[in-house]
């Protein structure tokens, strides 16, 4: 099979630019917040919250900085790295259930 190198290169470059633009569009920037700020933030906001991990289980843990917020981490491989007392930064969307706020983690960085 013969391919036209120039045409393929132009098509690949255009595809790459479109893909990068889409990735930037989809990457909603998380707003940095303390645990206390997260507890009063609007549900569904995308937050980056740092704190100390506590009560770590396979599916969830608490992120604490004087006050604590629950984090659901199910399915994230990085959550396995967590242990009680470790500093972590969580990117995720704030949810509310029966008046209690919690974060559904999309990304966890263990420090």
């Amino acid at each position: 099979m013969q391919i036209d190198g120039n045409k393929t290169a132009v098509a690949a470059a255009l595809l790459a630019v479109a893909g990068i633009a889409l990735l930037f569009l989809l990457s909603e920037t998380a707003e940095k917040a303390s645990v206390a700020q997260a507890l009063v933030a609007q549900p569904n906001s995308l937050l980056e919250v740092a704190g100390t991990a506590a009560n770590v289980t396979a599916e969830k843990f608490q992120l604490c900085d004087r006050v604590c917020i629950s984090v659901r981490s199910q399915g994230l491989p990085s959550a396995i790295l967590l242990s009680n007392g470790r500093m972590a930064s969580v990117n995720g969307r704030l949810k509310e259930y029966k008046g209690s706020k919690y974060i559904v983690a999309e990304k966890i960085e263990v420090k």
């Binding site: 099979m1 013969q2 391919i3 190198g5 120039n6 393929t8 290169a9 690949a12 470059a13 595809l15 790459a16 630019v17 893909g19 990068i20 889409l22 990735l23 930037f24 989809l26 990457s27 920037t29 396979a58 994230l76 491989p77 990085s78 396995i80 790295l81 242990s83 470790r86 990117n91 999309e106 990304k107 263990v110």
Partner: protein, 388 residues
Amino acid sequence: MLQLLAVAAGILLGALSGLIPGVHSNTVASVLSTLPLPPELLTYIIVAVLGAHIVFQFFPSVFLSIPDDTVVASVLPGHRMALEGRGREAINVCVFSAVVASASSALLLPFSLWFIPMAYAAMQPYLGPILIAASIFLLASEREARKILLALAVFLLSGLLGIATMRGSVNDPLFPAFSGLFAASGILLSFASQQEIPPQKSGRTQFDFLRFVAAGVMLGMLSDLLPGIAAPAQIAIFASAVLVASEARNFLALVSSIAASHAVFAFAALVSIGKAREGALAIMNDIVPVQLGSLPALIGVMLLAIGVSAYLMTMLVRRAGELQGLGTREANWGILAYLICAVAIISGAGGLLVFATATAIGLLPPLLGIRRTHVMGLIIVPSIMLSL
């Protein structure tokens, strides 16, 4: 006896994680850390996983063109050698270099405990300018103005992909990115050129690349000073431009010795500056904090794992003849399907977008007649931004 069984189990798991693309030693270590095993045995298993993974990761890199993030720089010359029927030689070079480099690094460990904290403090303020200067040098190595401009475009495009990927919430983003840049784009191009892995030659390997192993050991120590993404791969790319390792064997020796010595000196970095440069070490340090006194036993386990894995790998590569014909259309479709499934499972829909974009960028260097190393802008550009 139990300790030896732990090391054997670690080698087995490290072999599997090294041979199966997409499975990282950190993932294995993190799963292991949840098991109710005595802490001492767990640390031995994790160190053995790390050692075995270093050796076995070269197999998919050389024969399938699917790299691990530590040795991503090896994928181009390694796979090229496999396509020339020199895959066994490529693996032998990698394995021998990793063994010599890890043993030499162990001997240099006392020196590194003194050197790393001092060099870390001195380099920290200048990391950004150092990375920029090295990138300019890498681009300028294309020599012709037209090629330099094309290389710059590919470098920046890859860098933008890196930034977009790191900003997003894609899990393990380097896996879809590297798989697209190297494996998938290579497979797509092979459909046009009908490349396939030929019968693998079984000639003797010339071990005339020791100076590159020596350089790799020193650079491996340097890579433990860098906080950036995939530091061993970045160091290897820059070093290859400076050391003019145009011969594929020399380049492979350099990359594999950097990867092996990076892992050994990571223990020194953890003890001396408190930075775990290997994810598996961070996990282990949580189970039992690594102390100066425990270093001889841990390094001993690491060397044992690398040595045994090297022997097993040379046994495995003797059967490389059975890979003859791999690279035909059907096998390539199979690898491509595996990559798409693995990316979807590990990194989700966002990962598939990263994979498709990276594949498009990976097609550019061969089509434009420039070196593929410029796609390493993916990790270099975000590192520059982090360090400025």
